[in-house]
């Protein structure tokens, strides 16, 4: 019950921007020997999947803090696990981080205890998804765009420049229609992609943020999505199923993550990706610390460790994401290169609208359609309503 109520109240609490004045750690003690982290799959690698991707072993040897990872598949799972407690850290995306702050599940981070804080990309230091009223509730971890992945054979010499290939019926460069050959994300947050498309193509709607839609803007976005339903055979929710659909179902274009693009390319499959002219949505993750973290010193040591440029470099190669420490792209400390960062969308930060949870009391226009309606209406759209 408690967690249920928490989930609900956070929506309101976020809107009202509550600032729980919680104590932060003043100084570090001796390492406690362990740190337990709730993380996305593939985010914390110790060389068990592929030997060269390991950013845990050395940390454990240097600090004596054993890293224990609990993987979570959705932002909601992360929030639920943190509500349960018993964990030190979580790699929360923007649609979870504010809920955690409002729910008082995470504590402010004392950045003076994190020497590498200064190295963080200036664009992320005070990002609104982890900074509330000037208080930092976490350390940025990685970020990435939701790109438009396309089959280079189908598009030939004219790669797509607009999201219209997945939103509006048209003939693709290979001469066939796009009906049945495009996909869209099977999550209600995809409504934001539609809204972003409308920002560029129907400016008269006056959308300023794709996560803050009034009734009229929201209805227009749903209409666009209803049109998209006629083009989409199946929506994607699982990265590996989407890759399979590109290989076996004749899908040639879809919103996707750099992760799938990279994996398909490494298999020699003819795909590429682009951030279209309308911009893209994206995710930015933050390492946050539980209010009752049982191992605070190890937690701080880990947060400092996450900012080391070789971890950032290797992780960004592994996950197809962008480092939050810019030098990771160029200093050769890990596997990442400047070209790799560009391919992952490092230069497109301004074009990206990062995932946040839509709330009813929104900043830009007072009253917006809240997330739970996005969920039920998107179910209807996929069901053909």
């Amino acid at each position: 019950m408690k967690s249920i109520r928490l989930m609900g109240t956070t929506a309101v609490a976020v809107a009202m921007a509550v600032t729980p004045a919680l104590a932060q750690v003043a100084s570090l003690g001796t390492p406690e020997g362990q740190v337990s982290i709730v993380a996305w799959a593939g985010y914390i690698e110790r060389g068990e999947t592929m030997a060269e991707f390991d950013w845990v072993t050395k940390f454990e040897e240097a600090t004596g803090c054993q890293v224990v990872v609990k993987t979570a598949n959705t932002s909601d799972e992360m929030v639920a696990l943190m509500n349960e407690g018993g964990f030190d850290l979580v790699t929360a995306s923007g649609d979870a981080s504010l809920r955690l702050i409002a729910g008082k599940r995470v504590q402010p981070v004392n950045i003076s205890l994190i020497p590498s804080w200064a190295n963080i990309d200036d664009r992320l230091k005070d990002a609104p998804w982890h900074t509330v009223d000037g208080v930092h509730y976490g350390v940025p971890y990685q970020w990435g765009p939701n790109v438009l992945m396309y089959n280079t054979e189908a598009f030939g010499d004219t790669p797509p420049t607009s999201w219209s290939v997945v939103f509006e019926e048209q003939t693709l460069p290979d001469g066939s229609s796009n009906v049945g050959r495009v996909q869209a994300y099977d999550g209600p947050i995809h409504v934001a992609d539609a809204a972003q498309y409308l920002m560029a193509h129907q400016p008269e709607l006056g959308i300023t943020s794709p996560y803050e839609l009034n009734e009229e803007q929201y209805a227009a976005a749903l209409d666009l999505l209803r049109g998209q339903r006629k083009l989409v055979g199946r929506y994607w929710h699982d990265a590996f199923i989407q890759m399979d659909d590109f290989k076996n179902e004749g899908v040639v274009a879809s919103g996707s993550w750099p992760f799938q693009v990279g994996l398909l390319q490494s298999e020699g499959f003819p795909v590429s990706s682009v951030i279209p002219e309308e911009g893209a949505t994206g995710w930015a993750d933050t390492t946050m610390m539980h209010v009752d973290a049982p191992h605070p010193t190890c937690s701080y040591l880990w947060m400092e460790h996450t900012l080391s440029s070789n971890l950032q470099a290797d992780l960004s190669v592994w996950f197809g994401a962008n480092p939050v420490v810019l030098s990771a792209c160029t200093d050769g400390s890990g596997m990442q290169t400047a070209e790799g960062c560009t391919a992952n969308g490092l230069d497109d930060f301004e074009k990206i609208n990062f995932w946040t949870t839509p709330v009813s009391q929104c900043e830009s226009q007072g009253e917006c359609v809240p997330y739970y309606r996005w969920v039920s209406d998107y179910i209807g759209v996929i069901g053909g309503r």
């Binding site: 932002s75 050959r181 399979d244 290989k247 004749g250 809240p370 997330y371 739970y372 969920v375 053909g384």
Partner: protein, 312 residues
């Protein structure tokens, strides 16, 4: 005067068994309490909590769950999009059940009446074997089989029957871009996965049809067809109904197959999963979860009248 029989000191076990002998109810209570607790607290308790949630509602503006009793959430089930989900699930469950019965009956009939000795074992194994491999592995395998560039399309094209497949996929409502992105595909996989649950109870009930009755039937001049219709089928019906309970309820509760194979249109299980997981709309998720319970209660009471539970 007499000092009585000399008995050794009795140990704990002896005294316990004596207690159980003198008071059988103690033993009974001891044995029955854990399962009763399980049923009462874990099973019915969680069901009760679920039911309770479904009478709450979500506040339209803030998205907060309002803990006041209301039927508003149940009213929401009647919204067009939600009715679609319920009807879609019901239709799928019914057609899967029907197909399983039609396909399963001959198999069960043969296994029960004609297979002997080693062949019987082979039949049992053949039916059970698919149940031993992981459900997910089977579903993913089917995704590849049904894919647009999968083996079925390839086989149809290479024997010149591609047009037939295209015609099937062009069917309005159930067709789609490929078998794996259509309702036909979802239906095929459901039938494959749940078929054993239909065959086994049917076989059990067919085996219970006494041979003497069949002989009597033919002695009285009934043709084979008449015997089948008037003797075998009615006697095997409880088994068919028992099997249909499995296939119907399993299809209705499943949320993984339609997620991997099909058009992404939601079924009840998926709706529950999504509403409670990502939307925080627990009341509507709970109300959705109550729907299959009610449908199954109705179904079971009908099945009970059909004598299905005699065959379990």
């Amino acid at each position: 005067m007499s000092r009585g029989a000399i008995l050794p000191n009795r140990g704990l076990a002896d005294r316990l068994s004596a207690l159980f002998w003198r008071r059988p109810t103690v033993l009974l209570l001891l044995l029955i309490t854990p399962p009763l607790l399980w049923l009462g607290v874990v099973y019915l308790g969680s069901l009760g909590a679920l039911l309770l949630q479904s009478f709450y509602s979500i506040d339209e503006f803030s998205g907060v769950v309002v803990e006041e009793f209301t039927l508003k959430t149940y009213g929401e089930l009647f919204r067009a999009a939600n009715m679609d989900i319920i009807l879609r699930t019901l239709t799928m469950s019914a057609s899967v059940t029907l197909a399983s019965a039609v396909i399963g009956f001959p198999v069960a009939y043969f296994a029960a009446r004609f297979a002997r000795g080693r062949w019987k074992a082979v039949f049992y194994l053949g039916i059970m074997l698919p149940l031993w491999s992981s459900y997910l592995v089977k579903v993913y395998a089917w995704k590849l089989i049904l894919a647009k560039e999968g083996i079925i399309t390839w086989a149809a094209d290479s024997v010149g029957l591609g047009f037939l497949l295209d015609a099937v996929l062009a069917l309005p409502g159930v067709g789609g871009n490929s078998l794996s992105t259509s309702f036909i595909g979802t239906w095929l996989v459901f039938v494959y996965v749940w078929l054993p649950y239909m065959i086994l109870p049917m076989q059990a009930s067919l085996e219970r049809v006494p041979v003497s009755m069949l002989e009597a039937s033919s002695d009285l001049g009934a043709s084979r067809g008449q015997t089948f219709r008037t003797v075998i089928l009615p006697l095997a019906m409880p088994g068919v109904i028992a099997g249909s309970i499995f296939t119907f309820s399993l299809t209705m509760g499943d949320y993984i197959i339609p997620q991997i194979i099909g058009t992404s249109a939601r079924f009840i299980g998926q709706a529950v999963y999504q509403l409670q997981g990502t939307a925080g709309n627990i009341p509507l998720a709970a109300a959705f979860a109550v729907v299959p319970i009610i449908i199954m209660l109705v179904y079971l009471s009908l099945a009970k009248r059909g004598g299905a539970f005699d065959a379990l």
